[in-house]
Symmetry: C2
Subunit: 338 residues, 2 copies
């Protein structure tokens, strides 16, 4: 098969790779129905994270089970399935506590921008949909694999409750899914920090009530203005830079909470500032597996339409253009059809 | 009157100072029944926090109201009262959210190691006891002003629930109060990190079930051993150094929580480590005012005996010896009688 490999900064190739096979009794092999490019793929693509050797890419996926190992019980060939970006056993203490991305046997998924994918720990990782989905649902189902699950975790980690005022820092795909998630959780007011007209528009469709275009201290001051000087109840940090983390903490009221899901790059938090902020912090790699059944249900019953976040759709063989468009911010998120 | 003034590292003097008076209509003046030396007083005492001018000391207090300003409604002369180490109005949005130590009109109390104290915002700061307390209750009542309230907040911020396994990092007075608090909140197993026999003994009296004498990575490994490799559900960070913060985060299970109340000194938290830890963080200056009614009730009804934390009692005029004994770790906490 041909699949996606990153050779170095801005050097994405679609080239011949061995077709994956069952390697362990707990594996499944699935034929990918759709995959996509993640904001986190852009860190190595931009050279901000080292790439020391040709690296297969992709960790968001859904598709049809082709084959399962002898120990697999909960999925079978022919089923349409979705899995998290991290394989998990769902039986270890961390999984049972709901933190499957800290599973004792965790394996990061790394080769999903391809037509065929081997999924380890299939019983703990894959969730079947109620049936074979209509084609128009596939983009939304695909989002549950990471980007929606991650936005959902940001809102959950920030403790979003009905009636609250919420800020979302980051207008990328995860931030936009954070808006949708906060709305689903009943937030009354959702303030999004964004300078991009198309993203502002989508944020409003997903439930944003206010847009703040200022950044840094000015952005914080604007949010304080919008909240009578108090700050927001919850903030969703969906970027992962020092500036975005500080901005998030500083716009939150004492006793409020920050859910942070942007993979941190160069972030160092000062103990004294954290201490006197009185802000709750929680975040990390989203335990998507915990949310998959609920999110699949919301999509399946057409209660949400997160697939709108894909504003560029390409055949998988044009994956390099998919990366380019996101790097240049011409696209929010690229969906790839094998 | 004579009161306590810090002139520089290890230079505590008990010297003539103006007797405080009502300055604003919202003030009260109280005659101190008992005060004490706080672990946080040792930072400037040891020269680890600059002292640029002679600085009156003390922020833990209880006593009898002598006089109130014309606007004070909730306390009156003759009442025995206790207040937080931070004055608050309890009407601003942060106070109403339970974070009185982030009150919009907060004033740190700074002159309580004295026979007489002016308390600003008396209506929002002071809580009367049900009556005039018997002398043997005064030490325990005094602890509610800061050290017990702070340990209580550490446990509350760490989300301690019945049946949980909890670690306490720090065997100072706050850590010991954290043990008592976690026990009150129903923790089943309370692991205390301590190398000092007398503190270990007191920790056991307050509810500790396990003592870990190792520190740093070895301490973390020991706690992991004690929890089948999983880590604790909640950790109370009661020191405030880089080592104690990291030790706390690292001994906590993914999805667990750290309550941190040690005033941070030189703490910088790495974003990547926090992210992958999956640990909830909450802390800051304890909103003691929130807990005062409940803690006074527990003491008044002799359900808890936190006053045991005072293992040295001196007349106020010997305050310098009180500091010395704590600095040299001859005493856990010094109570001072004016």
């Amino acid at each position: 098969m041909k699949a996606t490999v990153l050779y170095g900064p801005r050097d994405v190739r679609f080239e011949e790779r061995p077709t994956p096979k069952i390697e362990k009794p707990t594996d499944a092999v699935i034929r990918i129905a759709a995959t996509c490019v993640c904001g986190s793929d852009l860190w190595p693509y931009r050279g901000l994270q080292p790439v020391n050797e040709p690296t297969p890419m992709g960790h968001e996926y859904c598709g049809i089970v082709e084959e399962v190992g002898s120990a697999v019980r909960s999925v079978k060939p022919g089923q349409f399935v979705i899995g998290s970006f991290a394989a998990s056993d769902i039986t270890c203490p961390h999984c049972r506590a709901g933190y499957q991305t800290s599973c004792a046997n965790r394996e990061w998924m790394l080769r999903a921008q391809a037509p065929v994918l081997r999924v380890p720990l299939a019983d703990g990782t894959l969730v079947p949909t109620p049936g074979n989905p209509p084609a128009d649902l596939i983009p939304s189902l695909l989002t549950t694999s990471d980007v929606l699950g991650t936005g959902w975790f940001a809102a959950a980690a920030a403790g979003v409750q009905p009636g609250q005022t919420v800020a979302v820092v980051g207008d990328g795909a995860v931030g936009l899914m954070g808006v949708l998630s906060a709305k689903q959780m009943g937030a009354e007011r959702i303030i999004v920090m964004s300078r991009h007209a198309t993203r502002q528009q989508l944020a409003r469709e997903f439930g944003a009530t206010d847009i703040v275009t200022e950044r840094g201290d000015e952005g914080v001051a604007r949010i304080k203005d919008l909240t009578q000087g108090v700050g927001v109840d919850s903030v969703l940090e969906c970027v992962g830079t020092q500036e975005s983390m500080l901005q998030s903490i500083r716009c939150t009221r004492p006793g409020g909470a920050m859910g942070y899901v942007g993979v941190p790059h160069g972030v160092e938090l000062d103990g004294v500032e954290l201490f006197f902020s009185h802000v709750h912090l929680h975040g990390g790699p989203a335990p998507v597996r915990q949310y998959l059944p609920h999110l699949i249900d919301l999509v399946w019953n057409r209660k949400i339409n997160p697939g709108k976040v894909f504003d560029l759709t390409l055949p998988l063989e044009q994956v390099a253009e998919g990366y380019r468009a996101m790097d240049e911010r011409r696209a929010i998120k690229t969906l790839l059809w094998p």
